[in-house]
């Protein structure tokens, strides 16, 4: 064999190097390798990508034209106003739904021999999950771009300049990224791809609907309104509306509604830190 020889012949002895810990550089590198692999995989099954883009487009069209006429937002029942109000909600809902794919794919990986291969390699422990969530983020970004174009076609606009609009997209994607870690945690916990794909619905529907995304929480019963006001999802939607200059910005005493940008950031960071820690620990200790 004429390959570049890799020095692997370690003279076995008691003087093993002290516990070579994986550095941050290697973590990033390994995660990128896994992330790229996941993206490459997506190009082999383009159906998945296409379906994940079509679904939110259907939501835009359905909500705009079915609910549009009967919704009263910002004191008017003008369907055009509702469409502007709706778009941020759809953006946020789309990134939330993306977590279903995440947990399904991770559970699928965990149930196959491939994960044993990864766990037997001298790679960073968190890289399999970090790579996966990174790939999800990339896919999510494409979906949001497609959605923005569709939104523009049905009359949605941003009014506060490009920078603030980018900020809004950034917050939406950060929330989405945070939630892929929730998906990852579910994925490593349930260990059956079927359960992983259905379990997320248990929290996704309440989280997205008990919020300010599609209706004005002012119309809800008081306790539900409080839930909606403190819902992390609502904070991001509210921040998006403010930054895009879309109608329906909610004025209530609740702190996350008054400081929506900061609240959205804090929520997302907390979710990432907590879920990532738990998911990576679970992955490391998993014994399929």
């Amino acid at each position: 064999m004429t390959a570049p020889t890799v020095s692997t012949t370690q003279t076995a002895s008691a003087s093993a190097p002290p516990h070579a810990r994986v550095g941050i550089g290697q973590s990033v590198r390994d995660s990128i390798v896994i992330g790229k692999t996941n993206l490459l995989r997506l190009t082999r099954v383009p159906e998945v990508v296409i379906f994940s883009m079509i679904q939110p487009v259907i939501f835009v069209v359905m909500f705009s034209y079915v609910f549009g006429g009967s919704m009263n937002v910002g004191g008017t029942a003008d369907p055009g106003v509702y469409r502007e109000f709706l778009m941020v909600g759809i953006f946020a809902q789309t990134v939330v739904f993306a977590t279903v794919t995440s947990s399904g794919a991770i559970a699928h990986d965990m149930s196959k021999g491939l994960i044993d291969r990864f766990r037997s390699l001298p790679m960073a422990r968190g890289a399999v999950l970090s790579g996966r969530t990174f790939a999800d983020l990339v896919l999510m970004t494409f979906t949001v771009i497609v959605l923005a174009i569709v939104g523009a076609l049905v009359g949605w606009r941003f009014h506060e300049g490009v920078l603030k609009a980018l900020g809004a997209f950034g917050l939406v994607l950060l929330l989405g990224y945070a939630l892929t870690w929730v998906g990852a945690l579910i994925g490593v916990s349930v260990r059956s791809p079927e359960a992983a794909s259905s379990a997320p619905m248990l929290w996704i529907l309440p989280v997205t609907f008990i919020s300010n995304a599609f209706v004005d929480p002012g119309q809800m019963t008081p306790w539900l309104r409080h839930v909606a006001d403190w819902n992390p999802f609502s904070a991001t939607v509210q921040a998006g509306r403010e930054l895009f200059g879309n109608p329906g910005v909610r004025t209530s005493g609740a702190w996350p509604m008054e400081h929506s940008v900061l609240a959205s950031l804090i929520y997302s960071v907390i979710i990432i830190v907590v879920c990532r820690t738990l998911a990576v620990r679970k992955y490391r200790n998993s014994t399929s």
Partner: protein, 336 residues
């Protein structure tokens, strides 16, 4: 040279089940150890502990000189694992699979690419290198999996039932690859439930049952324990069975066993080929027509029966209540 793989008192429970119940192993550098046992014997659990996939509940083990619990990453750097299920990504091509594994072994992108190319050729996957693994046959997937394990030319290889599910031709091809590997100096730990495979590939064999090693030695040593050679006769007509049995009883060295439906008679013998000739002559004198006759050397199957009282295939799974039984078998001294 110190042992490339060393394990002492490995124990692993799953709930109430003691899947591995105190296993000691020593594999000298450059040799091949076959871990032989039926399904559920605990072979895979031993492998998973040695390859850092599972933490032992008790005992300790080193691979390539590194402790599997204290320095798992050093173990991983020096070891290749080819598991029971081909661990390849279906949606990636053969080449992409190997490059990914190479990079995760911390090779540079260029080195990973070069190694992938070399291994694809060596494992006869060159033509299929740029097709997704989904389109591969079972044999190709196994070869790709093995190639992935060999990306960094590890000094220690662990293979868990490498040929399970392969057809005879592919099995033979994989055996050739494994033998070539061993010739190159790789230390190999191999699990198998095929007695023939352990006989063919391994220098030393550990027979595992219900989580404990019940015998160890070379294939020849183990065979010697299971007793004598046998003569097997298949008579042409059912009516000749009794007469043939009398002949065998006279010439043989033990009890004659008869399989009525196959018309096969077996008797332990001492005396080899000359005795075989005698038996043929005696049968001929009695006008017994035979379809087949042969001198059979003991197989590892016989060893297994001698050790456990049943064949490997029919052995009880580890979950059964018969765990204790093996301890009472005359195996303690054999393990010595």
């Amino acid at each position: 040279m110190p042992d490339a793989i060393y394990a002492e008192g490995l124990v692993k429970h799953f709930g109430d089940v003691r899947a591995v119940d105190g296993v000691d192993l020593a594999v000298p550098s450059g040799s091949v150890l076959g871990l032989l046992g039926p399904n559920g014997a605990g072979k895979t659990t031993v492998v998973r502990m040695l390859t850092t996939l599972l933490k032992p509940d008790a005992g300790h083990a080193t691979v390539a000189g590194f402790d599997v619990v204290k320095n798992p990453n050093d173990v991983r750097r020096n070891m290749g694992l080819s598991g029971q299920f081909a661990a390849v990504d279906d949606y990636l091509t053969g080449r992409e699979n190997l490059q990914m594994v190479g990079q995760l072994y911390q090779l540079s992108k260029r080195d990973a690419k070069a190694r992938a190319g070399v291994l694809l050729e060596r494992f006869n996957l060159g033509a299929a290198a740029d097709r997704t693994a989904k389109t591969y046959s079972g044999g190709m997937r196994r070869r790709l999996d093995l190639a992935a394990a060999l990306i960094v030319q590890p000094s220690v290889m662990v293979m868990d039932e490498p040929t399970t599910g392969l057809d005879p031709r592919n099995r033979q091809a994989l055996w050739d690859v494994i033998q070539e590997l061993v010739k190159g100096g790789t230390t190999l730990l191999l699990t198998t439930q095929y007695l023939e495979e352990a006989d063919h590939l391994a220098h030393d064999i550990c027979v595992v049952n219900n989580g404990v090693v019940i015998a160890r030695g070379t294939a020849d040593q183990l065979k010697a324990r299971s007793g004598h050679e046998r003569v097997e006769v298949v008579v042409h007509g059912r009516e000749d069975i009794v007469a043939a049995s009398t002949v065998l009883a006279a010439q043989g060295h033990g009890e004659v066993t008869v399989e009525e439906h196959t018309r096969k008679l077996t008797v332990p013998v001492t005396g080899g080929a000359r005795l075989l000739a005698d038996i043929i002559r005696s049968l001929d004198e009695q006008d017994i027509t035979i379809d087949d006759i042969g001198l059979r050397r003991p197989t590892l199957d016989d060893v297994f029966i001698a050790l456990t009282g049943h064949t490997a295939e029919a052995a009880e799974p580890a979950e059964s209540e018969e765990n204790v039984q093996t301890e009472n078998l005359p195996t303690k001294e054999m393990a010595k």
